[in-house]
C-alpha cells in the first residue's frame, strides 16, 4: 500500500514559498507518496504563538493534529521547519503532560487524544522511501555540481531522532544520492536570522551573510535547504547581504525538493524555479544539459 500522509503546508508555503509547496507535492506524487492537505488547518503561530497566552502555543498546534486524526491520518508532513518543530513538540508534550492536554482540549471543538506523528518531508523521504531507492529514480544526475546543504535550526533542533543537532547529514546524503558534490562549510547548522527579518533587519542580514560567504568560500555553486524562513533570509535577503559585505554572491538557493525534482526528471515549471529572487536559470540549464 502506498504511503499516505496528512499534509500541513503552513502559511509560508501559500505565499512567500509557493515553490516549496509545488515542489513538495510534485516530488511526493512522483515517488508515489500520497499527500492529503489537512482540511481547515490553522497557522502554528511560528515563534509568536505564546506572546499573549502560554497555552495558545499548544492549542494552535494541537488543533491541526486533531483535524488530521479526525480526517483519518496518523502521520503529518510539515515542510516548514518552524511548523514542523511546533507540531512535533506538541505531539510529545501532549503525550507527556495530560493536564495541559486536558486544558487545551477543553477549548477545542475536536479534542486531540494522541496517536499522530509529525515528520519533516526530508526525513520522511529518507525513512519511508530510502536514499538507495531514490538513487535508482535519478534520471538527471547533478554530476559535478557543488551544493552546500543548509540545515538552519528547527529542522534538527531541539534535538530529535532523525539527525544530529550539531553535525547534521540528512541533506548532504540526499545531495550525494542526487549525484551532486556536497560542500563542507562552517555555517551549515548556524542560524540565518530569518526570525528577525523585519524587526531587526541588520541582524538577519549579518547572519545570512555569514552563511552565504561561508558556503561560497568553500566553492558552493548553490545552496539547498528545507525551510521557507531560511529561504527568505538566504534568497530574498541575499541582495541586502551582498550590499552589506560589498561583494557579489550570486548563489541560487533551492529547496531540496526542487533539486530532487530536477534530478528526478520533473519539469522546472512544475517546481516554481522562476519564482526565486536570486535567478536559478543558469543552474537549471546546467542540470537540464
Amino acid at each position: 500500500m502506498a504511503n499516505r500522509y496528512a499534509y500541513y503546508p503552513g502559511c509560508s508555503l501559500g505565499s512567500t514559498a509557493k515553490e516549496y509547496d509545488f515542489s513538495v507535492r510534485a516530488v511526493f506524487a512522483h515517488l508515489g507518496l500520497e499527500l492529503h492537505e489537512i482540511e481547515d488547518w490553522n497557522c502554528c503561530g511560528a515563534t509568536h504563538s505564546a506572546i499573549y497566552k502560554e497555552d495558545a502555543r499548544f492549542l494552535l498546534s494541537l488543533r491541526n493534529l486533531a483535524l488530521a486524526k479526525a480526517q483519518g491520518f496518523d502521520t503529518v508532513i510539515a515542510p516548514c521547519s518552524a511548523c514542523y518543530k511546533n507540531l512535533r513538540r506538541a505531539t510529545k508534550l501532549a503525550d507527556a503532560n495530560k493536564n495541559l492536554l486536558a486544558r487545551v482540549n477543553d477549548q477545542m471543538k475536536e479534542p486531540y487524544n494522541g496517536g499522530v506523528t509529525v515528520l519533516h518531508p526530508l526525513y520522511a523521504i529518507i525513512r519511508d522511501f530510502g536514499l538507495e531507492a531514490l538513487k535508482k529514480r535519478v534520471v538527471r544526475p547533478l554530476t559535478g555540481i557543488k551544493i552546500a546543504s543548509y540545515y538552519g535550526c528547527m529542522l534538527t533542533r531541539p534535538v530529535d531522532e532523525f539527525d544530529s543537532a550539531e553535525r547534521p547529514t540528512g541533506l548532504d546524503q540526499l545531495v550525494v544520492a542526487l549525484g551532486a558534490e556536497p560542500v563542507e562549510y562552517d555555517y551549515k547548522a548556524k542560524c540565518c536570522g530569518g526570525a528577525l527579518a523585519l524587526s531587526h533587519t541588520g541582524s538577519t542580514v549579518r547572519m545570512a551573510a555569514n552563511v552565504l560567504t561561508s558556503a561560497k568560500g568553500r566553492g558552493a555553486e548553490a545552496i539547498t535547504l528545507a525551510c521557507p524562513m531560511c529561504h527568505m533570509a538566504l534568497d530574498m535577503y541575499q541582495g541586502k547581504a551582498e550590499h552589506a559585505i560589498d561583494q557579489p554572491l550570486h548563489l541560487p538557493v533551492l529547496f531540496f525538493t526542487q533539486l530532487m525534482g530536477l534530478a528526478l526528471g520533473l519539469e522546472p515549471t512544475q517546481l516554481g524555479l522562476a519564482r526565486h529572487i536570486v535567478p536559478t536559470q543558469d543552474l537549471v540549464a546546467r542540470i537540464m544539459g
Binding site: A50, I51, Q107, L198
Partner: protein, 218 residues
C-alpha cells in the same frame, strides 16, 4: 537555607523552561553559542545570572529577549539541561504583560499573532500593515519597498487572506486578548479593512484581465 526566593526568581521558575534556572553555573556555553550575541546587551549567560538575582527590571526591559532568533543552539548545548530558548519566549510574554516592552520585535510578534487570529492563517499584507502601523517606522518601510516589489512580481505576496471556518475559536481560546485590550484600535482596523478591500479588488481585476488563467506555476 533560610532565605526565600526572590519574587521575580520564583515567578520565572514557574514559567516553562524556568524551573531549572538555579541550576545554571555560569559556564557561558549559551552565550558562546548564540548567533545573536553581537546584537545583545547581556547575552543569555548574564540574563540567567540576573534572573537568579531577581533583577526583574533589567531582565524584562533588556532588548536581549527580543533579539533571540529561536535557533535552540544554547538550549541544545546547555550542560545543565535548561530550556533557555523556551524560557526566552516566555520572558517575552512576561515583559509584555508587565509593560516593560519597547522593541520592534515585540510589535512584530503581536502584529503576527493578531493577524493570524483574524483569519486562522497568516496574511502577509495585513501583517505588514499592522506591524508598520505599530512601529511607525517609515524608513524601515521604505527600505522594504524594492524587495516588496520584487516579491510581488514573483507572486510571493498573496492578495486574499485564506480563512479557516471559525477563526473566532482561536480568539475565544485566548490566542489574542479581547478586542479592547488590543493596541491600534479602530483606526488600524479601518486601515486593514481598506487594504484587504483594495487587494481583493486588484485580485479580481487581474483575474478578469487574465481570463482566470492559472498563472500560479512557473
Amino acid at each position: 537555607m533560610t532565605s526565600e526566593l526572590h519574587p521575580f526568581l520564583a515567578e520565572v521558575m514557574m514559567l516553562r523552561g524556568g524551573k531549572d534556572v538555579l541550576e545554571c553555573y555560569q559556564c557561558g556555553t549559551c552565550s558562546a553559542s548564540c548567533p545573536a550575541l553581537p546584537d545583545m546587551t547581556h547575552g543569555p549567560r548574564r540574563i540567567m545570572y540576573m534572573i537568579q538575582n531577581g533583577m526583574e527590571q533589567e531582565v524584562l526591559s533588556s532588548p536581549d529577549i527580543w533579539r533571540c532568533v529561536s535557533c535552540y543552539s544554547c538550549m541544545n548545548r546547555c550542560p545543565r539541561g535548561i530550556e533557555i530558548t523556551v524560557l526566552f519566549s516566555e520572558l517575552r510574554r512576561l515583559a509584555i504583560q508587565k509593560g516593560y516592552v519597547e522593541d520592534k520585535e515585540a510589535e512584530f510578534g503581536q502584529a503576527f499573532t493578531v493577524t493570524l487570529a483574524q483569519h486562522g492563517r497568516q496574511f502577509e499584507p495585513e501583517l505588514l500593515t499592522r506591524y508598520y502601523w505599530r512601529v511607525r517606522d517609515v524608513v524601515g518601510l521604505l527600505g522594504m519597498v524594492p524587495l516588496g516589489l520584487k516579491m510581488l512580481v514573483k507572486g510571493k505576496l498573496p492578495f486574499k487572506p485564506e480563512r479557516i471556518r471559525e477563526p473566532q475559536v482561536l480568539q475565544e481560546a485566548g490566542v489574542i486578548p479581547p478586542k479592547p485590550a488590543l493596541p491600534g484600535g479602530k483606526g488600524l482596523d479601518r486601515v486593514v479593512a481598506l487594504m484587504i478591500g483594495v487587494l481583493g479588488f486588484v485580485d479580481a481585476l487581474v483575474k478578469l484581465v487574465s481570463g482566470k488563467k492559472e498563472a500560479q506555476h512557473g
